[in-house]
Amino acid sequence: MRGRLWGLALYLFVLGFILNLLGIVSHVMVSAFAKRWFGTPLPTAFTTEWFTYAWSNFDLGRILTVTLSVAGAVVVLALILGFPAAYILARRNFRGKPLLLLLYFLPLLIPQMTYGIPLATTLYRYAIGGTVAGVILANLVPMVPLAVFILMPFFEQISMNLEWGAAMMGANRFQVFRRILLPLTVPGLLTAGVLILVNTVSNFELTFLVSGAGSQTLVVALFYNVFAGGVRPVYSVDAMAVMYMTTVMLLLLLALRFVRPTQMVFRLDQPQR
């Protein structure tokens, strides 16, 4: 009996947390569609004009273009840099491998504010800071290791025999890569790509420290508008937040088609169910 009550309490907590979360998210959504909203459960009148207002006043067309091109470039570059390294780390043993893994793990472990300030300083010194290229380079710092760690277990699942067999049949290294490794790692590449995409779009600290006037991503622009609360109508900031949310949600829906949610935060070493 006590066990039952205990279990019920746990579920109630999760339910509470979820309700609270949905409340937070839908408060933003309702507010974005409100004409005016003061202390009533729901606004008295609804409108969609805040979206057009936000779109034209916050220069959202350009911000969205920057966001998606930064995210796209980060995904492609992180996969190109991470793919070969993940292959070698999954397949070979060599002296210094634990050290190398630790080095790759550090950018994921250390908070971005700690290494972001020296990184931004360095980028500004070489006049890359404040540009879109600078934002891409800075975001790649945690994303290359992330790509390596996501891809590694996928390589570990591919049997060596396949590669040996192909080599026996006379395939050269490029053919093994093109015909064996690449097709078999497509799920891994999709997982890594989608996670890097979502992470880059919602990454705040590094982009904030490195971006300038023309290289802000959606989340950084949103920060400045929330920070300057009162300068713009709160409904228009919420409209922008809704557009940001829609972008992330679309990417996330795409992600959940390929990835189990727990894989986002935990290592991939459990066997696939």
Binding site: I24, G82, R92, V141, F208
Partner: protein
């Protein structure tokens, strides 16, 4: 000593090196170099010629600055303890699988993917003076005037909890559900009650996972920046060390001093990690000694 598994080529040949070099070079140039350069710069203050500890001395001599260390610990430590204990309690209770697992985990992943800023904007609205939360409490007659939950310490804690709880819960759930259930079953068969199973059997097994969770949540909370600005009082009660570093870098343009503050922040994070590792060792030793006495 090099460990090699049977049937695996263990040499680092030309091809392997060529595969590793691009990403390694990237991490070295974009992560290690700026880090070392930051330490170097922090020792070369703008006003003094040559190497000097002036920046560090200024930081610890100025109450407005060194107070940020205390403020940050005051946010990070309680938050870490609350997040990890609640997540552990839930994950332990749900280690046998949960009802609607996929839906629940999907919803829990939401705050991670939505990011800090959207969450902050939502919390300002939802928990604000005119938000649904206060409306509900006022409507039920539980309160006479709205609770002030944003733009103060509570706001920052709320936002940190919302961000880190799902992350911590999913990590611990993954870790705990990986423990072989037959160990627990044997303990139950031998007559151990639920409390004994938790304390004597499961806790030592979960200790490494708990330590990792503590370490990650602590390190993340210590670097708190956007929520401390948006939901706290960035000029007062929640001026964390990350805000101090940012202000030196981008408001005073003193990169040398800013690097020094970033280094100090890094050192305190490391110190926190070391304490957690030491505590974990003691915890495991205490638990195994207890078992040994029987």
């Amino acid at each position: 000593m090099r460990r090699t598994r049977a049937g695996e080529p263990s040499e680092l040949d030309l091809m392997a090196t060529a595969c590793l070099v691009p990403s390694l070079l990237y991490v070295l140039v974009m992560f290690v170099y700026p880090f070392l350069y930051g330490i170097y710069m922090s020792l070369r203050p703008a006003k003094v010629a040559g190497f000097s500890l002036a920046n560090y001395l200024t930081f610890f001599g100025d109450e407005w600055q060194y107070r940020t260390v205390w403020i940050t610990f005051n946010i990070a430590v309680p938050n870490t303890v609350v997040v990890v204990s609640v997540a552990l309690l839930l994950a332990y209770g749900m280690r046998r699988g949960i009802w609607l697992e996929r839906t629940v985990t999907t919803i829990l992943v939401l705050p991670i993917s939505l990011g800090v800023i959207l969450l902050a904007e939502g919390i300002i609205g939802f928990y604000g003076a005119r938000g649904w939360f206060n409306q509900l409490l006022l409507g039920l007659g539980l309160l006479n005037e709205p609770l002030v939950l944003t733009h103060n310490y509570i706001g920052v804690m709320l936002s940190l909890f919302m961000q880190q709880f799902p992350f911590c819960f999913l990590m611990l759930l993954g870790y705990i559900s990986g423990i072989d259930p037959s160990i627990e079953n044997s303990a139950r068969t031998l007559g151990a009650g639920p409390w004994t199973v938790f304390y004597k059997v499961m806790l030592p097994l979960m200790a490494p996972g708990i330590a990792i969770a503590f370490a990650l949540v602590f390190v993340m909370s210590f670097g708190v920046f956007p929520s401390a600005i948006l939901l706290g009082q960035p000029a007062g009660a929640t001026r964390t060390i990350a805000i101090a570093a940012y202000q030196q870098a981008f408001e005073s343009y003193d990169m040398s001093y800013a690097s020094a503050i970033a280094v100090i922040m890094g050192v305190f994070q490391m110190a926190g990690l070391v304490i957690i590792v030491l505590l974990r060792r003691r915890m495991v030793m205490a638990a195994t000694m207890g078992v040994g006495k029987r």
